[in-house]
């Protein structure tokens, strides 16, 4: 094999997530079988033991989420993968990961819901659940993949964000990307940027486990490293001990929000296509962004100055990219496989400057380029 030719693989989205996780240093997976996410567990059960990692199939998704938090606290990068019903069960412990600032990655391969719903049909119905599923005010990072290659690179990125900011990161895939096979060239190990959590630089006696650094992120010692400390789901002070003092509660919540706000340039990712001179544009994410790109190209050929903004980060919502485009264009189309979960966000940041049109499918069928094209031509 010459130096120029990279190794190419024919992978489905779920398999690319596995390769991304391993490349990012994930060495622990706990999960429960569910369609259409099961391939991730199956593959990791084969591949993790090879790299001295650990796979465990738990009794349910509640336990899976608990186990990955435990593993992460013990210093091992950890993830789980599920679909809607399992994601619902994870919400309680997801909140724990938020409040105790435990880095981990949760993959939700979305299927039609609610409830058992449409197990093998594509949907994007869990977008707002990813944002607000766990109770209480909390910032959260939600990423969305649209290709097999994305499934690899964004899994690495999800781990990097989780480690850098000490947050759980939710990676949304969907049935289309998960089960589509594409040829991908995976980067060499040395080309992949991998971020590890910051460790304390002070001796154990000085360690304040929940005192943020300049970015608001506390350095994290693993259990067993000599920095004995307390981890709780209760709102806590800098030492990690429960508090109800209004000033301490307030500063806790403010730091949680600040560390994400300060990370916006790093966390908020989008891809723009044909936007420079666009008069109308599409905002899309996940598998739908692929249809959207084709329809925008077709519209251009038909003389419509159309563009596409693909959202990679759904939350925190990339308002600083979206708002200027809403000011630039006369209309925007938001196609989604739900009743309009991201179009709500678009409307929220629009200030009435741009016409916001929705295109929604909730029948378990994928949105085709033709549908988006027809809408684009009428904008």
């Amino acid at each position: 094999m010459s130096d120029q030719v990279k190794q190419r693989f024919l992978l489905q989205g779920n398999e690319a997530i596995v390769q991304g996780a391993l490349a990012a240093g994930c060495r622990f997976f706990a999960g429960y079988p569910i369609t259409p996410a099961s391939e991730i567990a199956e593959q990791l059960s084969i591949q993790l033991p090879v790299v001295d990692g650990t796979f465990i199939q738990m009794e349910d998704e509640i336990a899976s989420m608990g186990a990955i938090i435990g593993a992460s606290l013990a210093g091992v990068k950890a993830m789980t993968a599920t679909s809607g019903p399992g994601f619902a069960l994870m919400q309680e412990n997801l909140g724990f990961a938020c409040v105790a600032e435990v880095p981990c990655v949760i993959v939700n391969v979305m299927r039609g819901g609610p409830s058992t719903g449409l197990p093998t049909c594509p949907a994007q119905g869990d977008v707002q659940m990813a944002r607000w599923g766990t109770h209480g005010d909390h910032p959260i990072v939600v990423l969305s993949v649209s290709t097999v290659m994305d499934s690899f690179t964004l899994t690495v990125k999800a781990f990097n964000i989780a480690e850098k900011y000490r947050v759980p990161v939710i990676l949304l895939s969907d049935e289309v990307v998960a089960h589509t096979r594409e040829c991908v060239e995976l980067p060499d190990t040395e080309e992949i940027k991998v971020v590890d959590r910051m460790k304390p630089s002070v001796p154990p006696d000085w360690y304040k486990p929940y005192e943020g650094d300049a970015r608001g992120v506390p350095p994290m010692a693993a259990f067993g490293e000599g920095y004995r400390h307390h981890v709780t789901g209760l709102i806590h002070d800098d030492m990690g001990y429960p508090t109800q003092k209004p000033a301490e509660v307030k500063s806790f919540h403010e730091r949680m929000a600040r560390k994400i706000t300060r990370g916006f340039p790093d966390i908020q990712m989008t891809k723009g296509y044909y936007l420079d001179d666009a008069e109308v544009f599409v905002i899309a994410y996940g598998a739908v962004a692929r249809s959207a790109l084709r329809s925008v190209q077709d519209a251009r050929e038909n003389g419509v100055k159309a563009g596409l903004l693909q959202l990679i980060t759904l939350f925190p919502f990339p308002r600083r990219t979206v708002t200027p485009l809403l000011q630039q264009c006369r209309a925007v189309l938001v196609p989604e496989m739900n009743m309009g979960q991201i179009s709500r966000e678009v409307q929220r940041v629009n200030n009435g400057e741009c016409v916001v049109k929705k295109h929604n499918r909730i029948d378990g069928k994928f949105i085709t380029p033709r549908e988006i094209f027809d809408h684009l031509m009428k904008l």
Binding site: F28, E59, I62, A74, N93, G224, E225, R228
Partner: protein, 280 residues
């Protein structure tokens, strides 16, 4: 020689934590905490090598006070977090402390599967037959006919035997004591922590505030006296009929057996996986 209580306190209670604790005067939780510390001290395990995980409820607050790696998880989920910690770092001594509602109602599924899975973990369950922290609602171990804030007309469901559940579910070691038998708790926890495999110690405890008071069982001392009267050792119980055992509490070691431990079995899985990879 017994370890002086003051030395134990200085060694194991957190110096930087604001006390007092949340437990009511006379609560059995303190007795169990003392027994845990005496057992750990006797076993001479480094504090850095212990992870103490808890769920939610009065028992859930215990880790906050103790100078180990401590983890106060969500309600019923202590064993799931403990499973992750143990698998990620098998060198740690991982102990979960739970209550009756915590471990067998909301956490019942995790409990039976932890026993079946047989990781090298220790589970200590303080069973006071009631949800104390939330105000005295009935739990899976509230006796038939008892009064609680959600069974003021008398409880119409039957209670679990937590220890027997653990035996059936496959735990390597299962034992029971009461808070009256404090020395026995020391010994049982010591055995449980030493035991290779999933080890359960159930401790029957008093919640005279939320349970005793509503059922006319008296104060903490009265309840402890009744534990003394009701207790039957495992060897004596073996010679008694089910009718004679009615209303009695069997104490001692109920099961102690050698079962393959999944943490150790997984090492074999890794070797096999690597060997297969090399073949390809």
């Amino acid at each position: 020689m017994p370890i002086p209580a003051q030395a134990l306190r200085h060694e194991y209670l957190r110096h930087n934590k604001k006390f007092p604790h949340v437990w009511c005067p006379g609560c059995g939780n303190g007795i169990v905490m003392g027994a845990l510390l005496r057992a750990i001290s006797k076993l001479n395990i480094e504090k850095d090598d212990i992870v103490l995980a808890s769920g939610i409820g009065c028992s859930g607050r215990m880790p906050t006070y103790l100078d180990f790696n401590t983890l106060h998880t969500t309600h019923g989920r202590a064993l799931t977090f403990a499973t992750g910690v143990k698998l990620a770092n098998p060198a740690m001594n991982v102990i979960a402390i739970m209550g009756d509602g915590d471990s067998t109602a909301i956490g019942g599924n995790h409990f039976i599967h932890a026993a079946r899975r047989n990781l090298n973990l220790t589970a200590i369950i303080i069973n006071n037959s009631i949800y104390g922290m939330t105000g005295g609602q009935y739990s899976p171990t509230t006796p038939f006919g008892s009064k609680s804030t959600t069974s003021v007309y008398g409880h119409i469901e039957h209670a679990f035997s937590i220890a027997e559940l653990a035996v059936t579910a496959g735990a390597s070691f299962v034992a029971r004591s009461t808070v009256y038998h404090a020395d026995l708790i020391d010994r049982l926890i010591e055995q449980a922590v030493k035991k290779r495999g999933f080890a359960v110690v159930e401790v029957i405890s008093n919640c005279h505030i939320q349970y005793g008071r509503r059922n006319k069982l008296g104060g903490a001392v009265d309840m402890l006296k009744s534990f003394k009267e009701q207790a039957i050792t495992v060897s004596r119980a073996a010679k008694m009929s089910p009718e004679e055992l009615e209303g009695k509490t069997t104490i001692g070691v109920l099961a102690d057996r050698e079962i393959p431990i999944s943490t150790e079995e997984y090492i074999k899985v890794r070797e096999q996986a690597r060997a297969q990879k090399e073949k390809v």
